[in-house]
Amino acid sequence: MTQWLAPMESYIALSAVMFFLGVVGVIARRNPLIVLMSIELMFNAANLALVTFAKLWANNTGHIFAFLVITVAAAEAAIGLAIVVVAFRKQQYVDVDEASVLKG
């Protein structure tokens, strides 16, 4: 499949689009699960950029970094979901807007 290689700028642009899709998802959705998924989307955008640059500079540190990002994303998703579960246990629903104790 390497014959489907596109110019590097395209991959970066694609990564950027994915990243901003994730940002919009984080800001605009009330369901915390979907927020976490949007965060995963952002992580993947970053991974795409890393891998692109690894290919560009023929340096597999990019791959390593992407691998570590995946690991961290997994850990963070786990903890995030644990928080959601705990919040769900307190009141029988979850809504991002409920966490408004810091309202000033």
Partner: protein
């Protein structure tokens, strides 16, 4: 301590000078602090202080008149503040004469006050104020430098404020005191300006240094300095246009009017000009100005004296007019004549005021002459006393006033001012007219105290004849109003008859008189072109003729028997037909009100209602408001919603990204 470079007097140590100067201050402090304890004993204490000061003055006579090697009088250096600013006491002939009057007449008036104010609740306070005034006046007169003069000047103004407003529960008294003080401050500013100019030119404040370096002034600068000094004189001596405070100052007790508004404080201007004779001698323009103002004041005051019905106001305007004579005299350069008139005026004006005080006191504080009449039968002593005063002020030959008045008029003509001479002669006639008018209305005819005041044309009948109108508030008198022995009041008046009549005889003999010889070493001679020396006899006869004419008119209008029989309707007609110009004192008060008072109040109101709330408070208010508004703005960011926070994080990152991508790339 450094002596000023050109002291005017013989340097030395004169402990009696300190006694003269500081004893009244000691008395004032003592009576202020412990007055209520002393009660009526405060009177003798205050009087003793001044009496001792007077005796000390006599003891210092020899030192004051000493002359040696170009220096005259006694000089005592006090302390040096900085080079050029040495403060000291100068006791020379000029200071001697003034101090004698201040302490002598002051002592008599202290004794008189013990009788006049007996029973007043604030008895001790009065004597404290009187002593303080004596101290302030002595500071003015004994200083050897302009700054000390100014200190005394200001303190005298303060003492005048205290004394005019002595009965502070009277709103008219308070207003009068304030008016006097404010106008005096205008004069203070003038003198301060002059001091600044003098220091700028000469580098020193002492009289001696200034007079020795007159050449340092250009003629224009010298005129400015003299003008500034004269503004101070005009304010203090009630010369036009700063004279409006003097008639109102009669709100104070009569002894106060006698002491400070007749004999001493108002003559401070004359003293200043006499002291600075070298300055005036060097500036012809300044002399011209002073002479004109003096003459103008003399005649203006006399004309207003014709229109008054309050006995003290008549005397107040006559004071203004007589001081005008003195100012005119020193203005044309006849310094010794001016000082002589000061001396005689102090005697006869104090006499007149104290006599009037006796009348007021005995008539239970009645001051309107329309409600008097025929008092020569009921108060013969006052009649005799006021007669001597009236004869003296009119300049009847043989009495003191005539010597000084003739001397002034002759000198005015001799120094080349025929117009001023004419005004002076005319004023003498008017003086005779209004003084005898006063005399006839008060002492002749039927007693009108029981007549309904509105029948006499008195405008505020509810105030006439009551204690409140003249000052003694009924509650201010002790319940058992012990009448003080009558000799306390009549004694000083009797004593004053002597100088009223005789003191002018010091100048008998013209150029060879003891008086002229006394002043020869002091005053420089002023020579003017165009002077006409009138023979003495002719001059005296001319003035006498005018005076007798004034007397005749007064007699025909007020003193003739058939006039006296009709006194009530005639007085009423005159009251009603009094021209408003005269009744309102040439509208000076109205003019000052419109020119200065109203604009000041408008300005104050402008600042108070517009600038203050909008600008100053506005700045403060708007600062606080902006802080609050900013706070609200930033508070609105704290919605508490996680999504909004996420958005703001994103925006922050965006800013960073833009910076690094767009701007960083440009580098």
């Amino acid at each position: 301590m450094t002596v000023p470079a050109h002291p005017l007097g013989l340097e030395g140590s004169y402990p009696l000078l300190f006694l003269i100067w500081l004893l009244p201050l000691f008395g004032a402090i003592l009576l202020w602090a412990l007055g209520p304890r002393f009660k009526s004993f405060a009177g003798p204490i205050g009087s003793t202080m001044i009496g001792v000061a007077f005796l000390a003055t006599l003891a210092e006579w020899h030192d004051a008149t000493a002359i040696s090697g170009g220096l005259a009088g006694a000089h005592q250096t006090l302390f040096t503040w900085m080079p050029g600013f040495t403060f000291g006491l100068l006791f020379d002939r000029l200071a001697l004469i003034w101090t004698l009057v201040i302490t002598g007449v002051g002592f008599l008036i202290h004794v008189y006050s013990m009788g006049y104010l007996a029973g007043d609740k604030a008895f001790a306070r009065f004597f404290a104020y009187l002593n303080f005034f004596i101290f302030a006046m002595l500071t003015l007169v004994l200083s050897d430098n302009f700054a000390g003069l100014l200190v005394g000047w200001g303190l005298v103004g303060l003492a005048s404020y205290f004394l005019i407003g002595f009965w502070f529960f009277k709103p008219t008294a308070v207003a009068a005191a304030r008016k006097a003080f404010v106008i005096n401050v205008v004069g203070d500013v003038g003198i301060l300006f002059a001091i600044v100019a003098i220091v700028a030119h000469v580098g020193s404040i002492s009289y001696g240094d200034t007079f020795a370096q007159i050449a340092a002034f250009s003629p224009h600068d010298l005129f400015i300095v003299c003008l500034a000094l004269f503004i101070g004189c005009a304010a203090k001596s009630a010369q036009v246009p700063l004279h409006t405070w003097l008639p109102d100052a009669m709100e104070g007790p009569t002894p106060v009017s006698a002491l400070i508004h007749a004999a001493t404080m108002v003559t401070a201007g004359v003293y200043l000009i006499a002291r600075c004779a070298p300055l005036w001698t060097a500036s012809a323009d300044a002399r011209e100005l002073v002479g004109v103002i003096g003459a103008l004041t003399a005649i203006a005051g006399a004309v207003l004296g014709v229109a008054q019905w309050d006995i003290k106001r008549i005397l107040a305007y006559s004071t203004m007019s007589q001081i005008g004579y003195m100012i005119m005299a020193v203005g044309v350069g006849a310094f010794d004549s001016g000082v002589l008139h000061f001396l005689t005026h102090a005697a006869f004006k104090a006499q007149l005021f104290l006599g009037a005080g006796i009348i007021i006191h005995n008539l239970n504080n009645e001051q309107d002459v329309r409600l008097m009449g025929g008092l020569r039968k009921t108060m013969p002593f006052a009649f005799i006393a006021m007669l001597t005063g009236v004869l003296s002020i009119c300049g009847i030959p043989g009495f003191s006033g005539s010597f000084s008045k003739d001397a002034i008029l002759t000198a005015t003509l001799a120094h080349g001012h025929p117009w001023l001479y004419a005004i002076g002669v005319l004023t003498a006639g008017i003086t005779a007219y209004y003084m005898f008018r006063l005399f006839f209305i008060v002492f002749f005819g039927p007693y009108r105290g029981n007549v309904d005041p509105s029948d006499l044309g008195v405008r505020h009948p509810e105030l006439a004849g009551t204690a409140a109108s003249a000052g003694h508030h009924p509650e201010e008198m002790d319940a058992h109003h012990a009448h003080a022995p009558a000799w306390l009041m009549s004694g000083p008046v009797a004593i004053l008859i002597v100088p009223t009549v005789l003191i002018g005889w010091l100048a008998f003999g013209g150029a060879d008189s003891p008086w002229t010889k006394f002043w020869e070493p002091v005053f420089p001679k002023v020579s003017e072109a165009g002077g006409f020396v009138m023979p003495e006899l002719a001059g005296t006869l001319l003035v006498l003729a005018v005076v007798l004419a004034g007397f005749a008119v007064a007699y025909l209008r007020y003193g003739a028997p058939k006039v006296l029989a009709q006194s009530v309707p005639r007085l009423r007609t005159e009251s009603v037909r009094m021209p408003p110009v005269l009744a309102n004192a040439y509208y000076f008060d109205a003019a000052i009100d419109a020119l200065f008072v109203r604009p000041s109040m408008l300005l104050g109101r402008f600042f108070g209602s517009i600038v203050d709330p909008l600008v100053i408070e506005g700045v403060v208010h708007e600062t606080a408001h902006t802080a609050g508004w900013l706070g609200h703005l930033f508070r609105s960011f704290q919605t508490g919603l996680v999504r909004v926070y996420a958005l703001s994080i994103a925006l922050g990152v965006a800013c960073f990204a833009i910076y690094y991508v767009v701007i960083g790339a440009a580098r």
